[in-house]
């Protein structure tokens, strides 16, 4: 493998030769990407719009299959298990996802939103088990004190930042191995963004986080490792510090110095 791709031992995820095409087979959104993701780290995926970073992220929990006419080649392994051989519902319980805009279920209360993953998958839990999951998940995202008196209200009175933390709690409720985040702060104000960033740094103790971001300084602040993608290719993958101080590929340097993006 080229020296531009970071080598990792005992990775949580291992992507090999992944190519994804929308519609016609020759138009690749992701081109032959191979990379391993380090456990209990924050891995950032950067790149200009349309570079394939969101498609790559969605391929990890197979959300990209929701689009019509998708062709996927290559392999992704979660702890050595091939994800394309698992059922999507099992996979998505092990790999949680947080979206660009906070998207709590509008018809459900805060409590129901956190436990939604269990309820909607038909898991039968006792009341006290549910209570515990809801409380820990909300604690973990630092929201419990703020909402403990209004657990049975709908979440629409919460601020954008609080709603996004609620969505993170919803993903944490399954105790996933990996959490995928697709520009989770792009719709938030700077203060809420800072809170979410602090939260991610706390969460990486227990979870492996993959973060797609448009925001280079965010990647620099909180990620341990960073990937740079351009036109569907994984151009460079390194420790964040190394990449920002000493990029090996001229395209990475161009992006980091603001020549395009």
């Amino acid at each position: 493998m080229s020296d531009k791709i970071l080598q990792i031992t005992n990775p949580v995820l291992s992507i090999s030769n992944l190519s994804i095409a929308y519609g016609k087979k020759d138009k690749l959104a992701v081109k032959d990407v191979s990379a391993d993701v380090k456990r209990n780290n924050i891995t950032a995926i950067m790149g200009p719009s349309g570079c394939g970073k969101s498609t790559l992220l969605r391929a990890i929990n197979r959300m990209h299959e929701l689009y019509p006419n998708i062709h996927t080649e290559g392999e992704i392994k979660l702890n050595g298990e091939t994800i394309y051989e698992m059922s999507t519902s099992k996979l998505r319980r092990k790999i949680g996802m947080v979206f660009q805009r906070p998207n709590p279920f509008p018809t459900m209360s805060i409590y129901e939103n956190v436990i939604a993953g269990y309820d909607l998958n038909g898991s039968k839990l006792k009341k006290n088990e549910k209570d515990e999951i809801v409380e820990t998940s909300l604690h973990d995202v630092g929201l419990f004190e703020e909402v403990k008196d209004s657990l049975n209200k709908k979440g629409n009175f919460l601020s954008g930042g609080q709603q996004q933390r609620l969505c993170i709690a919803r993903a944490l409720a399954f105790k996933p191995e990996v959490i995928l985040m697709d520009e989770p702060t792009s719709a938030l104000d700077p203060l809420s963004t800072a809170k979410i960033e602090d939260l991610l740094v706390e969460l990486k103790v227990h979870y492996s986080i993959i973060l797609v971001t448009h925001n280079m300084s965010q990647a620099a602040r909180i990620s341990d490792n960073a990937m740079f993608m351009y036109l569907g290719e994984l151009v460079e993958y390194d420790k964040t510090k190394t990449m920002f101080t000493n990029p090996k590929d001229p395209r990475t340097e161009g992006y980091l110095t603001g020549k395009f993006g």
């Binding site: 805009r101 998207n103 279920f105 939604a116 993953g117 909607l120 998958n121 038909g122 993903a171 399954f174």
Partner: protein, 294 residues
């Protein structure tokens, strides 16, 4: 276009005057447009209100003799339209049971398959179905049910005609409602590994519930006042009937009967008042729900 406007700059007084005259014309014609609804409501209230009492809701229609003697002695006509009210409720309930589940499924089918050829065929046929005159649907239900199933006029035949009227309205409103739910809500469900049918029934339908309700209530209010298809299918009944295989009355059918019977004229107005009140109330509730939602 701009050139023409500049050339007209001469004679700006005349232009101003024309502008004002046109504005006046718009006001006058708009005023004329709303006259009928005001006149209709006034007529119904002034002529119909005095017949409305408890009996009106709980007794069946009087026979001609009773009505005639009441009219001659200057009293209000005894009896009411209980047979029509119960018949209307029965038929609309059965029509809803037939139409609502299947049209919500079809609406979701259209939403889930945008741009597919087969789906757009279904969408076009749905649009055409919406334009089919109700009297033609009466003919259809006559063939299918009166001749084919119940061997005679029946509430079921009326319900089938009404349910075909309701289908396109609910299908399109379901599709539009689903389109208005942010895709991210659906994705949030998928990302939690929720199975497809639960995403639809536990996330999409509850999220669009008020939109669906609006569509359903509007479709019910559309069919409540239908007369022509019922004349061809349910015939009418002097008594209260809850057997869907037997002839049944309905409020609009009773209006038609009263209209054709000179002794019952007073009942025409009260039953029309009731029908219009019922339909408009449903309409208003539906619109309230939809504005609250958006």
């Amino acid at each position: 276009m701009e050139k023409a406007l500049i050339n007209k700059n001469e004679g700006s007084n005349w232009r101003e005057l024309k502008n004002k005259l046109f504005f006046g014309l718009v006001i006058v014609l708009s005023g004329i447009t709303i006259m009928p609804i005001l006149l209709i409501v006034y007529k119904l209230l002034s002529k119909g209100l005095r017949q409305i009492n408890l009996d009106f809701f709980f007794k069946v229609a009087p026979d001609t003799l009773q009505a005639m003697s009441a009219v001659q002695s200057g009293e209000i006509i005894p009896g009411g339209i209980a047979n029509g009210i119960t018949g209307t409720l029965l038929m609309v309930a059965v029509a809803s049971l037939i139409a609502i589940p299947v049209s919500i499924l079809i609406g979701i089918f259209l939403y889930e398959n945008p741009g597919k050829k087969y789906a757009s065929l279904i969408r076009n046929l749905t649009d055409i179905l919406q334009g089919v005159p109700s009297v033609v649907l009466g003919l259809i239900a006559y063939f299918w049910i009166v001749k084919g199933v119940t061997n005679g006029f029946s509430a079921l035949a009326g319900s089938v005609a009404l349910s075909i009227m309701m289908l396109p309205l609910i299908i399109r409103s379901t599709e539009e409602t689903m389109k208005m739910i942010p895709v991210s809500i659906k994705e949030a469900g998928a990302a939690l590994g929720v199975p497809y049918h639960r995403i639809i029934f536990k996330i999409m339908i509850p999220s669009g519930f008020s939109g669906l309700m609006t569509g359903i209530l509007l479709s019910i209010s559309r069919v409540l006042g239908e007369t022509a298809p019922l004349m061809l299918t349910t015939l009418g009944n002097r008594a209260i009937n809850f057997n869907i295989t037997k002839p049944t009355s309905a409020v609009p059918l009773q209006i038609w009967e009263f209209y054709n019977n000179p002794n019952m004229i007073d009942l025409v107005w009260s039953s029309s008042l009731f029908l219009v009140g019922f339909v408009l109330t449903l309409n208003i509730i539906a619109k309230r729900i939809s504005t609250k939602y958006s």
